[in-house]
Subunit: 254 residues, 2 copies
């Protein structure tokens, strides 16, 4: 009964959800392209080399991510289900954040948190889009890393939560038995829409190429459209589906 009443709310209209995911594509492409203006600077990912006098263990990247999340937490970022932190024990929100009812059936927002995988796979992408070596812009590089990671993470978590709930509402009879069986693999298979994935994988390289079309390659490093498409295929899409399965397995009253 409750189900039926809630079906049809705009945040679970699958076309609106898909449109939002599509709009995230430029944002991710832009942030990767901006990161790639700096060299790979791989030293910033090495533990113990943050350069902070009182931070002996974390890398500069992880130190920056921690500071960023501490700031973001105070602004209420992680009150939003699709904004997930990498770190735990962050400060409380200092702002009153007024959230609309999401309609998600999630007891714990952190049940779907794929940040470890997102960060690990993003770090593997860096050498594929940036020039090898060091240019000394360590601070700017980690800053742009965080922009990119957060944009990717928002896309993955939003897709995980809202696509899963939308698909469940369209066909509860299809998903409920798979959830009861706790069968993550079968859920991922049932959630997969090959033709949608193929459309995304055609769009991504075109968007990368368009974003750089008027860039002067003598002055601006251009990223490989294929590398971004591969990142979508190998990371963003599988993690989104994994998140959908986790969401459904945790879904209340399923």
């Amino acid at each position: 009964m409750t189900q039926r009443k809630e079906t049809g709310v705009p945040q679970f209209d699958i076309d609106i959800v898909a449109a939002h995911l599509e709009a995230c594509e430029e944002t991710i492409v832009f942030k990767l392209a901006d990161r790639a203006q700096y060299f790979a600077n791989l030293r910033i990912y090495r533990e113990g080399e943050s350069g902070f006098k009182d931070e002996k263990k974390r890398s500069l990247f992880h130190t920056r991510l921690l500071f960023q999340e501490r700031m973001d937490a105070q602004f209420g970022r992680f009150c939003v289900p699709e904004e997930r932190p990498f770190f735990s024990r962050l400060p409380r929100a200092r702002r009153a954040v007024h959230l609309p009812q999401t309609g998600l059936r999630l007891r714990d927002n952190n049940a779907v948190n794929l940040m470890r995988d997102i960060v690990a796979q993003y770090l593997a992408l860096v050498p594929r889009i940036c020039r090898e070596g060091e240019d000394g812009h360590f601070g700017s590089s980690v800053e742009h890393d965080i922009f990119a990671v957060q944009a990717i993470a928002l896309r993955v978590h939003y897709g995980a939560l809202y696509v899963a709930e939308s698909k469940f509402r369209i066909a509860p009879e299809k998903f409920t038995p798979l959830i009861r069986d706790g069968d993550a693999g079968a859920l991922v298979a049932a959630l997969t829409r090959k033709e949608v994935e193929e459309r995304i994988l055609r769009r991504i390289p075109e968007k990368v190429a368009a974003a750089q079309k008027n860039a002067n390659p003598m002055v601006r490093h251009c990223i490989d459209p294929g590398a971004v498409a591969a990142f979508y295929r190998e990371t963003i899409m599988p993690l989104t589906k994994q998140g959908q399965a986790i969401y459904l397995l945790h879904r209340l009253d399923a």
Copy 2:
């Protein structure tokens, strides 16, 4: 003598400086386009409406900028001459930042700080690129505001410092008397290269259009190429030249 020895170092090769400024164009376009995915949300710029329980005066935008600059200061951002803060009394850098010799002839990095104007003029741009009204994404909007402001500010300050020093080194005999006279207006006139400005103003709308070319306008709000070109013409270019004149008037040993 010192002058002559330093002429020809790559950071003051006017073509290299211009190339770097050109590469900033995509970065600025991308950050404005991403900000415009959120509505104008003008409430975030109103004093006393930050929503922070312990921040009664500042707007949410200014609160975010303050937190951001406090974080950035600890990472050493403002040790770099072209990265200027809006706020003063920021914490010290906690990282050892190894800066190459810039070669700039500046005693006080903050002598050229145009942040007040940049922020004011950026805030006037927001309603020209964003949809009117509110979508409730206040935190995301200020976050993207800061990304955009910092990208614009880097372009303005880098251009101010490095273009001015490069032009001075090419023709010290032209600039030295104007500096001695303290004539900012004559300096701006002497620094102006109309044909360069026109080339930039032709490029910008093309870059905005290219960046959005494959975006689906049903799902992603596209910004007006003319508004960004106007911002370059009315804000970025005049402030850069104003910064150049200030730099030269403060230049040591001129």
